[in-house]
C-alpha cells in the first residue's frame, strides 16, 4: 500500500492540540493493515462496528480511520513537516 496524497484537514483539530491531515492510500484499508500498525503505538481496533474503527496513538501523533476507507485522519502534535514525513515513512514501510 502506498500513500497517494496527504492533505490538510479542513477541520485542523487545533483545539485538541493536534494538526489534522487526511492521508490517502492506494487501496482501502483492511484488517491486515490495521494489525500491522500495532508496533507503532497503542492500537484500539473496534471490529464490531458497522465499519470497523481503528485508532493508533503513537509518539506525538494519532491516526484514526475505518477499514474499507482508503484514507485515515492523522493528527500530529507539532505542525512540523519533518514529523509528518517521518510518520508517512512509517506507514509506507508497513
Amino acid at each position: 500500500m502506498t500513500i497517494t496524497k496527504v492533505e490538510r484537514a479542513v477541520e485542523p483539530c487545533v483545539e485538541s492540540g493536534y494538526y489534522g491531515y487526511y492521508v490517502h492510500f492506494s487501496a482501502p484499508v483492511d484488517e491486515d493493515f490495521v494489525q500491522a500498525l500495532n508496533p507503532l503505538g497503542g492500537l484500539l481496533f473496534l471490529k464490531d462496528l458497522p465499519k470497523p474503527f481503528y485508532l493508533l496513538r503513537g509518539s506525538r501523533f494519532v491516526l484514526r480511520g475505518q477499514t474499507g476507507d482508503a484514507f485515515s485522519k492523522l493528527g500530529v502534535e507539532v505542525n512540523d513537516p519533518e514529523i509528518l514525513e517521518a510518520i508517512q515513512k512509517l506507514l509506507t514501510e508497513l
Binding site: 458497522p50 480511520g65 475505518q66
Partner: protein, 311 residues
C-alpha cells in the same frame, strides 16, 4: 440595539467599555465571555459560580458570590453545551440586590427562549445572529438599557457629525462600514422567528432535544450532558460513549453515518473542567428546522456504535 460581527465582538465591546473591577461568572460561560474578561482582569477578581452536569448554575453559590462590590454578573442564558436554560429573573434579582450590572449572553437562546430585557431586568443582552435567529454568520450585537454607562472602545466614521473628529453624540458603538448584507439576512431570520413564534419554536426544540437526550440516556455506556427531557432547551445535547474519545465518536459518526457533530470543549472550558471532562464531549444541536428523522437517525447511530464498542 447595536450590531457587531457576532456575540464575541459584542462581549469584547461590553466588557472593555464598562468599568469592571470584580465580576461573577458562571462555569457555563463560553470563551466569548471568559477570554475578554481574562484579558482584562486577574483570576482573583473573577468569581466563578459552579454548574451541575446538566449545566444549571448552583443557586446557593450564586447567592453567596453576589455581594456588594461586585460590578457585574455575566451569565449564559442557555448553555451551548447542555442546552440548559438559566433562571434569568432569579439571577437578575441577586445581581441588582448586590448593586451589580446583569449582563446576559443570549447567543444560544435568542430566538428559541423568550426573553424580555425589561421584564427580566437584564441590563445588557448580547446575541449572535447565526444560531436560533437564523441569520448568516458574521452578524450579532448587543442591546443596552438606558442607564448602562458604556464607553465606546472602537472609534471611526459613524455617518453623523462628519465635520468633527470629536463627535458630541454618545453611544456611537457602530463605527466603520456596517455589515448590511448580514443585517438584511438577520432581518429575514427574525421575521421567520416572529412569524413562527418564539414559544412555538421553543416547544419544538425542547421536544426534539428531550427526545434525543432521553433516548441517549437510556443507552448503556452513554453519558449525557443536557437539560432534563421535559425542560426548556436551547437545543444542545452533549454526550460521550464509554470507551471512545469524543474525537473518535465524532469521526465514526461523520464517516460511517454522514453526521456532523462538534467534538471537544465546545469553547466552554470551565464547564468541562467542572465536569472532569479532559477531552470534552460530542455535541448535537437541534433547531426548529431539524427534521425528527435526523434525531431518530442519530439515536440509531449511537445505539449501533454502543453495540459495536461493547462486543
Amino acid at each position: 440595539v447595536f450590531f457587531t460581527s457576532g456575540a464575541t465582538e459584542a462581549m469584547n465591546l461590553v466588557v472593555r467599555g464598562l468599568t469592571l473591577r470584580r465580576v461573577v461568572v458562571t462555569a457555563a460561560e463560553h470563551n466569548a465571555v471568559l477570554r475578554p474578561l481574562a484579558a482584562m482582569l486577574p483570576d482573583s477578581v473573577i468569581e466563578l459560580v459552579p454548574c451541575d452536569e446538566s449545566g444549571y448554575v448552583n443557586r446557593k453559590a450564586m447567592k453567596e458570590a453576589l455581594v456588594p462590590g461586585i460590578d457585574a454578573l455575566l451569565m449564559n442564558h442557555c448553555s451551548n453545551v447542555t442546552g440548559a436554560v438559566q433562571d434569568v429573573r432569579f439571577a437578575a434579582e441577586l445581581a441588582h440586590r448586590a448593586g451589580a450590572l446583569f449582563i446576559v449572553d443570549a447567543a444560544q437562546s435568542a430566538g428559541v427562549v423568550p426573553i424580555d430585557m425589561e421584564r427580566d431586568d437584564v441590563d445588557v443582552l448580547v446575541f449572535t445572529g447565526h444560531k436560533a435567529l437564523f441569520g448568516p454568520a458574521g452578524i450579532g450585537g448587543f442591546a443596552l438599557r438606558e442607564h448602562v454607562e458604556l464607553e465606546p472602545v472602537k472609534f471611526g466614521g459613524t455617518g453623523s457629525e462628519g465635520d468633527s473628529v470629536r463627535p458630541a453624540a454618545k453611544r456611537l458603538f457602530e463605527v466603520g462600514t456596517q455589515n448590511a448584507p448580514g443585517i438584511a439576512g438577520l432581518v429575514a431570520g427574525l421575521r421567520f422567528v416572529l412569524e413562527t413564534g418564539v414559544e412555538t419554536i421553543g416547544r419544538h426544540v425542547a421536544a426534539l432535544a428531550g427526545e434525543l437526550s432521553g433516548a441517549l440516556r437510556a443507552l448503556p455506556g452513554v453519558k449525557v450532558y443536557a437539560a432534563p427531557e421535559n425542560a426548556s432547551s436551547g437545543g444542545a445535547v452533549s454526550f460521550n460513549v464509554s470507551g471512545l474519545d469524543p474525537a473518535d465518536l465524532g469521526y465514526i459518526l461523520r464517516h460511517s453515518y454522514d453526521m456532523e457533530l462538534r467534538t471537544g470543549f465546545q469553547c466552554a472550558p470551565l464547564l468541562m473542567k467542572g465536569l472532569g471532562l479532559d477531552k470534552g464531549v460530542v455535541r448535537a444541536s437541534v433547531s426548529y428546522l431539524t427534521p425528527r428523522e435526523d434525531v431518530l437517525a442519530l439515536i440509531e447511530a449511537v445505539k449501533s456504535i454502543v453495540g459495536g464498542t461493547q462486543g
